[in-house]
Amino acid sequence: MWRSVFLHEFIDHRISNFQALPGSATPASLTLAASDDAVPGVNAIRVQPGTGFEYVLATPLAQVIGVSCRVRLLYPINPVPRVFPLIQLGGGAQLLLSPATHPLPDLSGTVSKAQVRIGTTSKDLGIIVLPAQAFTDFRFDWHTSGQARILANGRLVAYTNGVVPGAAFAVDRVVFGMPTLPPAPQPSFHISRVFVRTLERSDSLGQVAGLLPAVGMPPDHQRCRPRAVANMQAMVDQMRQFMAQIHAVLSRPWSEGTGPAIGPFKPEAVKAHDLAMAAGAAFVDMLKTRDFSTPEQFLDPFTEFMRLLRDALPQEFAAFAIKMDIPIVPDDCRTTFEAVLQDNAEAFKPIITLLSEASERIRQIAGGN
């Protein structure tokens, strides 16, 4: 489950009225004042080099593998020959803009390069338009499977793949605006909302595990549980890497201003995404309701999804499927967990039946069926 990290909607004129994980804003951040002078009725702060908001988390987030940031922006026409950060999550992720030269002819906005930086690696996302006359909700997403994208008011405007697949980093702060740059009059723009969510490496596994039947676990003198969980995490990491390979085949870098009208995704990519979401949702729904009476609601989209992956990368899929028999539980721990499974056979039976059928279908698909 993606976790909310920071939300500032400038709901009133008090800069300190925001929601966030425990932490503190820097004193300079709290000197900013929200006002509605850019658009009447819309509270916002004005930022320029030397000003911005910096929120330091009491406990840094570790091993962040996904970020989703929303910044509602109004950028009066003022092209500036410099690159500046719009939002930063610690030293791990940054969205950079460079509205270098081009106001639109109708003066409704400024053309800007957008760049993502993950760790020390930067990659161009494409060309976007910064709005001059109305606040626009920009959303910037990155995931460790290598996909990065920008949406403007919900519409995809820039996309790329292969952005540091497999990366994970710590996030100790959220920064928007340019508080660390030397003061300068330009660029100067308005921000009326910021929302940041992150995904940590263990979050999704925890979410699925939290939906499994709660059972009594024996004492863990051999540290079997953390060892098995670590192996499982490593397996999930391999899945994410495999997905990165798939993205590389089924999508390409694209931006609205310069890319083809068809967008960045092959039709198979769109279909694969929909099938994966349907399968994932059906599986979670079954865990939530404990109703496994219609297994095809999960198995049908899951099977189709697997076929699409196989068709995209046949050899890699076969190699991937071979990993199915790699044990997760260390040999010296197996009897412990098998005993728990046996004691709770009734509760786990429908889940095991469903997933065993899914694994069998993967074997068949890998075998060419």
């Binding site: 009133d12 009225n17 929601q19 969510r197 925890g206 499994l212 676990m217 997760i328």
Partner: protein
């Protein structure tokens, strides 16, 4: 157990009154004046109703159905038929039931319930001694049944499909005073005023009663035990783990604190190592909450979301709160001018957004109006916007229209992965789980939907002549010493609001019907967070 006489006697013995110096009549005026301008989502099917409606809106139409039709709407419950046997039986809705143990069924035990209102009105069953925190009121625990009794019959234009600008009309209705013989849709909300200091004092008296022999325990009361704020008032600052400080001693310390404050005496010092939060104490003594509760027959958030973010449940209480500085209310009350109360400007607004643990509730300071020297203060409602936007299905209450990211600051899944190794014992199964985990990574977000294109409700002079305006009412719970809910004259209301069980039959992993819990503690914690 429901023990209304005990609740009433306790209120008399402890001089119940939480609104001084305002009398009930003044609280009613204040609550009607500040009734929020409510904007519902255009596709909303369940608008706020009174607790009384939960019974009448089911019983009356059910009684009017032909017997064959009634069969389809009876509520099936698994009840005991012998010491070790049970069977499903159908009952007329709504049903009030309590647990009745377990009976064997196959290799497992199955829970059994006892229905308390067979052949008698459901409301009367709430008075029975068996009715406690584990009792349930239900009319069927499904969208189908709630929609049948509480869902809309038509849209504003008379159609059967809602659209922006043509929303569903609320099912609850009343005689139309402008068109004799006809009825009009209505929305009903509840309100109550609480001085925080008085509320804390009364809650501590209840805590004291609960420390006594079992026979003296304060009985279940849906309005009480929601203001346990010790941890907000006192913090351990002595390093390491705090030494034991019993609940009784804590309670006595807080009571001594209140007594010293009321007598103008010296504030007592907490035990060594404990530190009192002066800001929190100041808030307790300074503020009063005017709470508005919006009670819905059904939460159908799953119509708007897909798993894993969706949920649904029968019964749903949401709402918002105006925070008033008591000095402002006192001044108004003591002025002798009834209009002066309308010039009291709230300090802040708080709205409820999903669960408290998600830390998503909204807070907004209200800027004091700028008044030219010598000019009278304007009516507060003229200068303070108290418009709330209620999200479709979830009924989360926002201060702005449009879509709202569902925020959740909790770390709800930490440590949950300990069960994974159980399935890890089967490698192919673990492999599929890992694959699904990588898919679930991409379930990034969900949103609440609010709009300006649905039903509008609120004070006539605020909502104006909007075409989608419906009649609005506020039931003000009497909490004043001159007129309070524990007085015999208000017993019919007490039966409903003191009910401490669940207002719906959902009891699943995610889909859970709630009790109608008091919210003052939740509002207080949000206020402290922002002061």
């Amino acid at each position: 157990m429901a023990n209304l006489p005990a609740l009433q006697a306790f209120a008399v013995a402890h001089s119940f009154g939480l609104t001084a110096p305002l009398r009930h009549e003044e609280v009613v005026r204040l609550a009607e004046y500040w009734l929020p301008d409510m904007r519902f989502y255009w596709d909303e099917r369940f608008h706020p109703v009174a607790l009384d409606d939960i019974f009448t809106m089911v019983e009356e139409p059910f009684a009017a159905m032909p017997p064959l039709t009634q069969e389809a709407w009876r509520v099936s419950k698994f009840v005991r038929t012998g010491p070790a046997a049970g069977a499903s039986r159908a009952f007329d809705p709504p049903v009030v039931h309590v647990p009745d143990g377990m009976v064997p069924q196959g290799n497992t035990l199955r829970p059994v319930v006892r229905v308390l209102n067979e052949g008698t009105p459901a409301r009367d069953a709430l008075r029975l001694p068996e009715v406690g925190t584990n009792a349930v009121v239900t009319h069927g625990a499904s969208f189908r049944t709630s929609n049948a009794f509480f869902g809309p019959l038509t849209t504003l234009s008379g159609g059967n499909t809602s659209a922006a600008g043509d929303p569903f009309l609320p099912r609850a209705d009343e005689p139309d005073p402008d068109r004799p013989g006809e009825r009009r849709p209505r929305v009903t909300v509840m309100a109550a005023l609480y001085n925080l200091l008085d509320l804390l004092k009364y809650e501590l008296a209840i805590a004291q009663a609960d420390e006594g022999p079992a026979a003296e325990h304060y009985p279940p009361d849906g309005m009480r035990r929601g203001f346990d704020i010790f941890n907000n008032l006192l913090h351990w600052a002595g390093g390491g783990a705090p030494p034991p400080w019993s609940a009784k001693d804590r309670r006595e310390f807080l009571q001594a604190l209140i007594a010293a404050f009321e007598d103008g005496g010296q504030i007592p010092n907490p035990p060594p190592g404990w530190k009192m939060d002066r800001g929190a104490w100041n808030a307790v003594t300074r503020y009063a909450f005017l709470e508005y509760s919006f009670f819905y027959a059904y939460n159908d958030f799953e119509r708007y979301q897909t798993t894993p973010f969706d949920n649904e449940h029968e019964g749903d209480d949401e709402g918002c709160c105006l925070v008033f500085d008591r000095n402002v209310l006192n001044l108004a009350a003591n002025s002798g001018d009834p209009d002066i109360l309308r010039r009291a400007v709230p300090h802040s607004i708080i709205t409820l957004v999903h669960e408290e643990y998600q830390d998503a509730d909204l807070f907004a300071f209200v800027p004091p109006p700028i008044v030219a020297p010598g000019e009278p203060s304007p009516p507060a409602r003229d200068v303070v916007d108290f418009t709330v936007y209620i999200a479709g299905g979830s009924h989360a209450t926002y201060l702005t229209p449009g879509t709202h990211d569902l925020v959740d600051f909790q770390d709800g899944w930490a440590g949950a992965d300990e069960f994974i190794p159980v399935l890890g014992a089967l490698p192919p199964v673990a492999f599929v789980i890992a694959l699904l985990v990588a898919i679930i990574d991409h379930f990034v977000d969900t949103e609440d939907f609010t709009s300006d294109d649905g039903i509008h409700a609120g004070p006539d002079d605020v909502v104006g002549d909007h075409p989608a305006k419906v009649a609005s009412h506020v039931v003000v719970l009497p909490m004043s010493d001159d007129n309070h809910i524990y007085m015999p004259a208000n017993e019919a209301l007490l039966v409903l609001r003191a009910f401490a069980g669940k207002w719906g039959g959902h009891d699943g992993w995610v889909d859970i019907s709630p009790p109608f819990a008091p919210k003052a503690g939740r509002f207080f914690r949000k206020l402290l967070d922002k002061l």
